[in-house]
């Protein structure tokens, strides 16, 4: 069985043309990047605003309750509803992208909100005491302190999007999910298993890249890397917040 899968994966036929593995990977990444960008542009400012002002928390709980809706159901419902309203080749792509964006928003929104919410009130007060205006506090103090949770939100959103984009092949979206769905339909195990390995590999790779990005952008004062030279900043950050 393994030999069949390896045979399929290493067959030169799979590595060229519009149905080839490189084209499918590019497609899959393309959908995922577009979706994440759109979701981030919506969810990050919203999360910052809700966290900073403390108003509109119902938005976060509303987005979170969306998670109880099965993603497969959301996908089929929106395709059935929006699909016929769009003409041409985009009819299959737009509904899927809408669903992917809807699914990516809750983790990013609640990550951003929780990050801002969890900022030590003492750090916030200190910034105000230094004469910073509200927007400066948000930009210079709250946002950097919120980055670890914001990035975790982005990471789980990315995984969610990659997984759901795979499922979206059942409503005719391209990408790596095609191998899984077509393989199941034609009962060719090596095709679905080969595709599944590629999807799993892609998800792992993206998660590792995002983890690296998280490390790179989060201030060393928050991660405790400064511990040897003075543990002040990290101690403040790791103290349980007493607010609310």
């Amino acid at each position: 069985m393994i030999d069949n899968i390896l045979g399929w994966l290493t067959d030169p036929v799979q590595w060229s043309g519009p149905d080839g593995i490189p084209a499918r990977v590019t497609q899959h990444l393309g959908y995922s990047v577009v979706t994440l960008l759109v979701a981030a542009v919506i969810a990050i400012p919203l999360g910052l605003l809700v966290g900073h002002t403390g108003r509109g928390r119902f938005l976060v709980s509303m987005a979170n309750s969306l998670r109880a809706v099965p993603s497969l159901g959301l996908l089929f419902a929106i395709s059935l509803w929006v699909g016929p309203k769009i003409h041409g080749s985009l009819a299959f792509v737009i509904p899927s992208i809408i669903v992917l964006v809807l699914l990516a928003i809750p983790p990013i929104l609640s990550g951003t909100y929780a990050g801002i919410e969890g900022v030590d009130p003492a750090a916030r007060d200190a910034a105000k005491g230094m004469g910073m205006r509200g927007s400066e506090v948000l930009r210079v103090v709250e946002l950097p302190c919120a980055l670890p949770l914001l990035m975790s939100g982005l990471r789980s959103a990315a995984l969610q999007v990659i997984a759901t984009a795979t499922i979206a092949s059942s409503v005719s979206l391209g990408g790596l999910g095609r191998y899984l769905i077509d393989g199941v339909a034609s009962n060719q195990y090596e095709v679905m298993a080969g595709g599944a390995m590629l999807v799993a590999g892609l998800a792992l790779l993206v998660d590792l890249l995002m983890a690296g990005l998280q490390r790179a952008v989060v201030s060393p004062g928050l991660t405790g890397k400064f511990r040897h030279s003075g543990a002040v900043a990290s101690d403040i950050a790791s103290q349980p917040s007493t607010s609310s």
């Binding site: 069985m1 393994i2 899968i5 998670r67 109880a68 809706v69 099965p70 993603s71 497969l72 159901g73 959301l74 089929f76 419902a77 395709s79 059935l80 509803w81 995984l159 990659i162 997984a163 795979t166 499922i167 059942s170 409503v171 999910g177 899984l180 769905i181 393989g183 199941v184 195990y189 679905m192 298993a193 595709g195 599944a196 390995m197 999807v199 799993a200 998800a203 792992l204 998660d207």
Partner: protein, 212 residues
């Protein structure tokens, strides 16, 4: 509405199947995550590899895991066992960290007081640390339950029947009622699981209601 009444038997039987595929892994996953989380807490050196390792398992998309599991455990592709095992893996992946952090949330002074009262390590774990970690573990379990119910419906793409059948069938026939019934049943099932966990968590932590 008449469609729902005509198909009530089918809806209930698929809901039962769905609850089985999502619920059993939740219990088994919790039983597996307890010792793993304890290990991660007891030996801090094990914390990073356990958390990263289970985290990596969680990155594998559900459809891919359903298809790849037969390779590892030797089942057939359409076997519901694949779904049970996959959901258990996801549950463990979510809960190991929760259990470790939950045990970590128990104040050190409480542990010291229990030790001073003569509790040995095993008794202290089961009668002091674990009960005090219940609120954190229950919160993690709620997340796992809701996510399990959603993911199980994907299994209808590999021919394992549960409520997801209404989703695929409704879509293929362009029949919105069936699709909506599928979505609503899934949400209701998720809410039932959620409510049961909240209730169990309350029953197990009677001290949280004292003096309020």
């Amino acid at each position: 509405m008449s469609w729902v009444l005509d198909h009530i038997g089918e809806i209930l039987s698929l809901a039962g199947q769905h609850a089985y595929l999502a619920g059993v892994p939740l219990l088994v996953g919790l039983l597996l995550a307890l010792p793993l989380g304890w290990l991660a807490r007891r030996y801090p050196r094990l914390y990073p590899p356990l958390i990263v390792g289970t985290g990596l398992l969680y990155t594998i998309p559900s459809l891919a895991l359903f298809i790849l599991l037969p390779l590892v455990i030797g089942t057939r592709v359409l076997d519901p066992t694949n779904v049970l095992v996959a959901m258990t893996i996801y549950t463990v992946a979510l809960l190991v960290r929760t259990v470790a952090d939950g045990l970590g949330s128990v104040p050190e002074v409480v542990n010291q007081a229990a030790t001073a009262m003569g509790y040995r390590r095993v008794a202290r774990f089961f009668t002091v640390e674990l009960p005090l970690a219940v609120p954190v573990i229950a919160a993690g379990l709620r997340v796992a339950a809701v996510s399990n119910v959603s993911i199980v419906s994907v299994a209808s793409l590999v021919g394992v029947s549960q409520l997801g059948y209404f989703l695929t069938d409704g879509y293929q026939r362009g029949f919105a009622t069936e699709l909506v019934v599928g979505i609503v049943s899934c949400v209701v099932l998720a809410l039932v699981f959620d409510g049961l966990i909240v209730l169990a968590g309350r029953v197990m932590t009677p001290w949280q209601r004292v003096g309020r």
